[in-house]
Symmetry: C2
């Protein structure tokens, strides 16, 4: 990996955690859990994946960080067709020289760069980051990205990505939801069941049905020990006889 030499620490907590997360990231969705839609008529295959912290880059920043003419090298395909974890990683540098030394770049490139962190990551960086939908970065904190060949100053773009579910339009119809609606994800895990509300529907023609939560959310419900996952409309369990 191009940026491996940036690692400055021994096998401390951060490194261990990073490795775990990178392996997770690299394997596409090994912590994914296949589950079932809420009722019989709904789509049967639901994949829930944990997104470890990562960076999206524009072409210009790829060249600044990794050298003129450089393009991202796919390392592992993600579950969604056309997307991949790249060989490339960058250091994310926050205020007061706090840093995350090795953050995975996901491809393909986008029209602007964006850093997606869990809340735990943002505490360690010393940044107060808002929850945003991918692409909505106006007014968010910036950071410095450090690559093997150069440095990029982002004036904005560091977010905690809002939990969301990708699906295609047929799937929207089956669930009775539209792009932009909110749903709920219930993760049943022994002694540890969690319902995540505010799950944004991101629908298009081609997406596979897949929920993305971050590492904090995955750890809160111990996703890899979950026995059942359910996708529900936001209002599904609010009924007249509630309370």
């Amino acid at each position: 990996m191009a940026a491996a030499t940036m690692t400055t620490n021994g096998l401390d907590r951060e490194t261990i955690e990073r490795i775990v997360r990178e392996v997770v990231s690299a394997q596409g969705s090994p912590q994914s859990l296949a589950g079932q839609g809420a009722v019989g008529s709904r789509p049967a295959d639901l994949v829930v994946s944990i997104s470890a912290r990562h960076v999206h880059l524009c072409d210009e920043h790829v060249e600044t960080l990794f050298g003129a003419g450089h393009t991202l090298t796919p390392m592992k395909d993600l579950y969604q067709d056309g997307f991949f974890a790249a060989e490339e990683t960058v250091m994310v540098l926050g205020p007061r020289r706090r840093s995350l030394p090795t953050v995975r770049v996901l491809g393909p490139t986008r029209s602007f760069s964006q850093v997606e962190l869990a809340f735990t990551d943002s505490i360690s960086l010393g940044l107060d980051i808002p929850i945003r939908h991918s692409g909505k970065i106006e007014g968010t904190p910036g950071c410095v990205l450090v690559g093997p060949r150069g440095v990029v100053q982002l004036n904005e773009g560091v977010i905690r990505a809002a939990r969301h579910v990708h699906m295609n339009l047929a799937c929207c119809q089956a669930y009775g939801v539209d792009n932009g609606d909110l749903m709920k994800l219930r993760v049943e895990s022994a002694g540890n069941t969690v319902v995540f509300e505010d799950l944004l529907v991101r629908a298009d023609e081609a997406s596979k049905l897949e929920v993305h939560i971050d590492t904090d959310e995955g750890n809160a419900c111990h996703l890899d020990q979950a026995t059942r996952v359910e996708l529900l409309k936001q209002a599904d369990d609010e009924c007249a006889c509630h309370g």
Copy 2:
């Protein structure tokens, strides 16, 4: 603090996180959020607190770790009467020399020692820990505790504490629950609302109404930005017209 000299790292991620959590721990419940019971007849004051990783010790282990005749020095009272964060900290050492260098001891002492970690902590230690109610440590992993004066080998006792709610018996009656029942906690937080199921009721004569979740759970719902917390019976939103 007696064990401060055990810290071996600079201001890396772990240290920063530890400091943040210690401050949280030290202040009793600064991330606590006062909320309201679910319906009018229920208790009005609900405090939700994040328990950072911590250790409970028996008297014998206090002496082994901190010296003969040593007793814990209260640093800060916790929200529940009679309980405190101690000045003392220990290093928790897991397999393959992975460690958490400074874990707060809570007092008073107990009849046996127990280490309570979040799932993120356990990943960094390399331990696969079960979710257990406090005190139920049979068959759980052990670890080594390191203090300034000695070392203790625990053969068991490292757990992720099950999320729970303390309350007194009058409060139980108001909620219609008994000691040992399960409830739900709903934390409303902009774009980030979470319902934690499997919340164990720990009731006695004297406890104040207080929910304890761990750092992973607190980060998943961004507790310190929450606008409303609600305590519900486990079955409250399961009703005949559900679905």
